[in-house]
């Protein structure tokens, strides 16, 4: 298992946002987390990426418990993610944003960076090439030297994905990657995610766009009020009565 949670729980005061959730992500698959608003999907991603501490339970990445690790340690284990509201370095250029994404695997420490100028310069070149490769992959090569904040929203999202890929992740977490995108941009995104999957990168995503989710996922986990209520292939999920009830219940409110 690449990513695994065991009885993972997170409380905010009296509210149990994630309640005893067990789920696994196998290497190479594309897995989606869906559920009505407030089901705890983003909280779950925040727990797995180390941005929030768990109240109880365990998280394993490649068999190692990371429940007490900070986000930079989890990133070093090969996990990258994007956010629903993109979190870019706005005043830096598009290329610099992706170069910073290489930080996780670059050997350059602060002291060694200052001392080993030659090796450092070589690595810097390598990182620049890697950044250019990722930009080409997501189709942003011609915007490399523009400041990140000058890009339209859809391209900022692509940039965030390029930055995540630059860290050479084994698993990529995407929080609502299709939100705010046009229909055309969404289908381009789906195609891009398929190519990422072909490269052998495991994907765990949260999204509300059902067609998009069912289209690209191998497996779907459904959360409702912090609990896992179903898990299966897209075809199984679409006919699962508990899932239909949860969504209808949410809409009836």
């Amino acid at each position: 298992m690449l990513v695994e949670t065991k009885a993972l729980t997170r409380r905010f005061g009296g509210l149990v946002a994630v309640d005893q959730v067990d789920f696994q992500v196998r290497r190479g698959q594309t897995k989606a987390l869906i559920g009505p608003n407030g089901a705890g999907k983003t909280t779950l991603l925040n727990l797995v990426s180390g941005l929030l501490p768990a109240s109880s339970g365990d998280i394993l990445i490649r068999g190692r418990s990371v429940v007490s690790c900070g986000p930079h340690e989890i990133a070093a284990l090969g996990l990258a993610r994007t956010f629903q509201n993109v979190q870019l370095f706005e005043n830096m250029t598009v290329k610099e944003n992706v170069m910073v994404g290489c930080h996780a695997w670059s050997k350059q420490g602060i002291a060694s960076g200052a001392l080993r100028w030659i090796g450092h310069w070589r690595e810097e070149k390598l990182i620049e090439q890697e950044a250019e490769r990722q930009l080409e992959f997501v189709g942003l090569s011609d915007l490399a030297d523009f400041p990140a904040h000058s890009l339209p929203f859809g391209k900022q999202r692509m940039l965030e994905i390029a930055r995540a890929l630059a860290s050479r992740p084994q698993v990529l977490l995407l929080d609502e990657p299709a939100s705010g995108l046009s229909t055309r941009e969404t289908s381009e995104l789906a195609e891009l995610l398929r190519q990422i999957s072909v490269r052998g990168i495991t994907i765990l995503l949260v999204d509300h766009d059902m067609q998009f989710v069912m289209d690209i996922s191998d497996e779907v986990v459904v959360l409702d009020q912090g609990r896992k209520i179903a898990e299966g292939t897209p075809a199984e999920i679409q006919v699962n009565p508990r899932v239909i009830a949860a969504y209808l219940g949410a809409e009836a409110k």
Binding site: S49, L51, G70, P71, H72, A75, A76, A80, R81, F83, Q87, L88, F89, E90, N91, M92, E96, N97, M99, V100, G101, C102, H103, A104, S106, Q108, G109, I110, G113, A114, H120, E123, E124, I127, R163, A164, S167
Partner: protein, 298 residues
């Protein structure tokens, strides 16, 4: 004596003072960028560098004293980050700023305890030994005498400023530090250890301050309370240039040094120290975002 004839000399000493303000201003900007904190202990790092250098220069050579003084400054910066700023990260920015004032008073007190209250003279870097003490070389230029040590101050400042620019623009660690300052959440998720970056920014700012202290110790002498005035001048420069804007801080620092020196020499020497604050107040009233920063950052 003709007052105007003094102008070139005053400008030279103003530039020297301004260089120190410039380095201190860059230190303020580095720490502000990575933590949003205005570190009022910044001037004390200059004092530590100057004191350690002056004390050691009496016994050993510059080759030993310079690195030792800079290392002491870096150590002081690391201590502030590790034992004051990071453990208190839940505190509000304003409390942290007040804590840096306390830290600055502590450093000053410790320096007074260890090294006493009197000024310690330091020999110039490239002076000529004359009857048991070292006299600096002097150059005559545009009606002013420039001491070799003043050229050292200017040269070292230029080197540091260019070095900082290259570091933040072209190295990965520099980019990571900038990234951390712009968006800490984004930085943490790509694997940057924010705590380490904050520590690094303190070490760098303190190291810069200490270098300034070393080069200036033969000009001003080292004294335990020298950090206050230099720190406040540097703070004014940083704000005038726009906090976080290195080039702006450097330019403002040098201008401030010159204006202060001219005011002291030509007008009222008693009010020399007030100049920086009068300028700062006026500027904050009319252009609160700083003079040298672009008005609307699009």
């Amino acid at each position: 004596m003709d007052l105007l004839a003094q102008v070139p000399q005053l400008v030279v000493s103003g530039i020297t003072l301004g260089c120190i303000y410039a380095i201190v201003a860059v230190g303020f900007s580095i720490i502000y960028s990575s933590t949003q904190v205005i570190n009022f202990a910044q001037g004390e790092f200059v004092m530590i560098g100057a004191m350690v250098a002056a004390v050691l220069l009496a016994k050993t050579s510059l080759l030993v004293a310079f690195p030792a003084a800079v290392a002491s400054g870096c150590l002081a910066g690391a201590l502030v980050a590790l034992f004051v700023l990071i453990p208190l990260k839940r505190a509000s920015v304003i409390s942290l700023i007040i804590i840096t004032i306390g830290t600055s008073i502590m450093f000053r007190g410790l320096a007074q305890l260890f090294w006493g209250e009197s000024a310690i003279p330091a020999p110039p870097f490239t002076g000529v030994a004359v009857q048991g003490y070292v006299e600096d070389r002097e150059f005559h230029l545009f009606g002013a005498y420039i001491r070799a040590q003043e050229l050292w101050v200017i040269g070292v400042t230029a080197l540091l400023v260019v070095g900082m620019h290259v570091f933040f623009r072209y190295t990965l660690v520099g980019q990571a530090m900038r990234a951390c300052a712009i968006n800490q959440l984004g930085a943490r998720i790509v694997g940057i250890n924010a705590r380490r970056m904050i520590t690094a920014s303190f070490i760098m700012a303190a190291g810069l301050g200490a270098v300034a202290g070393v080069v200036v110790s033969p000009v001003f002498y080292a004294k335990c309370n020298m950090g206050t005035a230099l720190g406040l001048g540097g703070f004014c420069a940083a704000v005038l240039g726009g906090l976080g804007n290195f080039a702006g801080g450097v330019a403002a620092g040098i201008i401030l040094g010159i204006v202060e020196s001219l005011t002291g020499g030509l007008l009222w020497s008693d009010y020399k120290d007030a100049v920086a604050f009068v300028i700062l107040l006026v500027i904050l009233l009319i252009r609160p975002e700083g003079v040298l920063r672009k008005r609307a950052e699009a």
